[in-house]
């Protein structure tokens, strides 16, 4: 269904997503949203892989597999992260990243 769509469209999309993710990670104060921005980054990577695989190297499926694994790992990562966030929430009643600065210098 993507026939004729040139590769660079996907790349532009993924790059934009990637930097949106970076931006979000850098500016949003809520840990959950930061986690979501991470997901954005990972998804941009997925788009890259899929696009490359589908358009440049249709012969193999490496990109596809890689994407699947990324999704899986991202899930695991997210779960652990959220567990820790919950723990944080138990300790200090908010989950604002700026309060995570007990250790510095």
């Amino acid at each position: 269904m993507f026939e004729g769509v040139p590769i660079h469209w996907f790349l532009v999309l993924s790059t934009v997503m990637f930097f949106i993710g970076i931006y979000g990670f850098l500016v949003r104060k809520n840990l959950i949203t930061m986690l979501m921005s991470i997901e954005l980054i990972l998804n941009s990577v997925c788009i890259n892989f899929v696009a490359f695989n589908k358009i440049l190297y249709p012969g193999h499926l490496e990109g596809m597999y890689f994407t699947l694994f990324i999704i899986a790992v991202a899930a695991a990562e997210a779960s652990v992260a959220i567990a820790i966030i919950i723990n944080i929430y138990r300790r200090i009643v908010n989950i604002d990243v700026e309060n995570m600065n007990e250790m510095k210098y």
């Binding site: 840990l31 991470i38 892989f49 490496e62 694994f69 790992v73 992260a81 007990e102 250790m103």
Partner: protein
């Protein structure tokens, strides 16, 4: 089957521990300690038995004698950490989670072993994540400590970001070369701008693991917040694994752009060593202090890589080995003191020698080894690293590094000063060390002395390793 024996054995004991954990009654969890350590010891010993090498899964997984040796080195580190953590695990608040601790630890170890014996980027990535995510859980292990939780958060988030960026780099490499297998990426990697970009992103991800400046900032906080034994594990084993795989990849996959990455390393090394030392000078908390010192040490490790020769790789591995023993020696003392007394600041160590001469001795020797003072092994490690870099003609870099060793000597001496020179009206009281603590420390001491004097070790490593030319 046998080719993958290290990983399989580890997985096996992980599973065993899981099963045992299920049947262990609450409050009796301590019973798992001895079997766990014995099993690990068994794995460690079995690992040294020479066996078949080769590749599996169509080259996604490969192992050579070199890689087997690296795995053994990691096993040693992990074993010592397991031994050292006993004292901490026996504290009441951790009592219920002993087996979880070991299981997580072992699974990260499995991850690292997969990572270093991976044959393509997918396997590499999986190993990396398997080595990272449980560590985050371990960093946040002490649920009742805010610092621990904060450490967990900082670790998981930064590592997630770094792996994201790493993946982005990988995707570019894939896009430009069309494959993920190291064997095929290598020839195709000619250094087009996109590839360079991909390499930089990838390198940043690895630099995060080895905690090189400017990708190191998480290190100090996580090291300080995490339980000490996890800190030591992070600082030696996971750092070591990352250093190994980075070396291998740079020497194989990215060998075509060696000139470029050696320039990258040049900059990073100077930054890393200097920043690490400058920060370490002003630390009061010993864990944080060791964290920064370990950053500086990471910079030294790269000196071997930049040498680009077979000898250079050998020095990297050798130094990591030395560094495992030295750092674990220091951390071992710090952990037992902190477990028994809760003291972690350098000031608390005033007059430490007068009350605990043995521990102070171990600490001093480990610090000397870190600073590179003969006759302990650190001296040889440093000297060989410098030789490796000098061999490549980088005398200025070596000079910078050597001057930094003087700075590092200064702050190591500050600790020794506290322990030996200063008097204190209420010093840390006499600490009764139990079997496992002694075992851990003695292992470190033996290592610190033997590795330097016994040249055979270095000869073996050198025989197995390879270089760009």
């Amino acid at each position: 089957m046998l080719i993958m024996r290290h990983e399989l054995l580890l997985i096996a004991i992980t599973v065993i521990l899981l099963l045992v954990e299920i049947f262990l009654p609450a409050g009796k969890k301590e019973r798992i300690i001895t079997p766990a350590i014995l099993l690990m010891l068994a794995v460690l010993i079995l690992g040294f038995i020479p066996g078949p090498t080769g590749s599996l899964f169509g080259g996604m997984y490969q192992t050579t004698n070199l890689i087997l040796m690296l795995k053994n080195i990691l096993n040693i580190g992990a074993f010592i950490v397991m031994v050292q953590s006993v004292d901490w695990l026996r504290k009441p608040e951790n009592n219920e989670k002993i087996s979880e601790y070991y299981i997580l630890l072992l699974s990260t170890l499995v991850g690292m072993q997969y990572m270093i014996s991976s044959g393509d980027f997918l396997m590499f990535y999986l190993g990396l994540e398997l080595a990272t995510i449980p560590l985050a859980a371990l960093a946040a292990f002490e649920r009742f400590k805010e610092k621990s939780a904060e450490a967990g958060v900082k670790f998981i988030f930064s590592s997630a970001l770094s792996s994201g960026i790493l993946l982005y780099g990988l995707s570019m490499i894939y896009g430009t070369t069309g494959t993920l297998y190291f064997a095929e990426v290598g020839p195709a990697f000619t250094g087009t701008p996109l590839q360079v970009l991909g390499f930089i992103f990838f390198f940043a991800g690895m630099a995060f693991k080895i905690s090189l400046v400017p990708f190191h900032l998480w290190t100090a906080d996580v090291y300080e917040g995490a339980p000490i034994n996890i800190t030591s594990y992070l600082s030696v084993v996971s750092k070591g694994a990352a250093a190994f795989i980075l070396t291998i990849l740079l020497f194989t996959v990215f060998s075509k752009i060696a000139l470029m990455w050696s320039n990258v390393l040049y900059i990073v090394i100077v930054l890393t060593i200097t920043m690490g030392n400058l920060f370490a000078i002003r630390q009061q908390n010993l864990k944080r202090f060791l964290a920064f010192s370990s950053i500086a040490q990471a910079g030294f490790i790269l000196l071997g890589i930049i040498g680009q020769s077979q000898y250079g790789m050998a020095t990297v591995i050798y130094f990591v080995l030395v560094y495992i023993f030295s750092n674990l020696g220091a951390f071992g003392v710090v952990s037992i003191v902190s477990n028994r007394t809760g003291f972690e600041s350098i000031k608390d160590y005033d007059g430490f020698y007068r009350t605990n001469p043995r521990l102070a001795m171990v600490m001093m020797l480990s610090l000397f080894s870190l600073a590179g003072i003969p006759p302990v092994a650190g001296f040889f490690g440093k000297f060989f690293l410098f030789a490796a870099a000098a061999n490549h003609g980088l005398y200025i870099l070596v000079l910078i590094a050597i001057i930094n060793t003087i700075i590092s000597l200064y702050y190591y001496l500050l600790v020794i000063k506290a322990m030996f020179l200063n008097r204190s009206d209420r010093p840390i009281q006499r600490i009764k060390s139990d079997f496992y603590t002694n075992l851990g420390l003695i292992l470190c001491l033996v290592g610190i002395f033997a590795i330097g004097i016994v040249s055979a070790i270095f000869e073996t490593i050198n025989g197995l390793s390879f270089g760009l030319y």
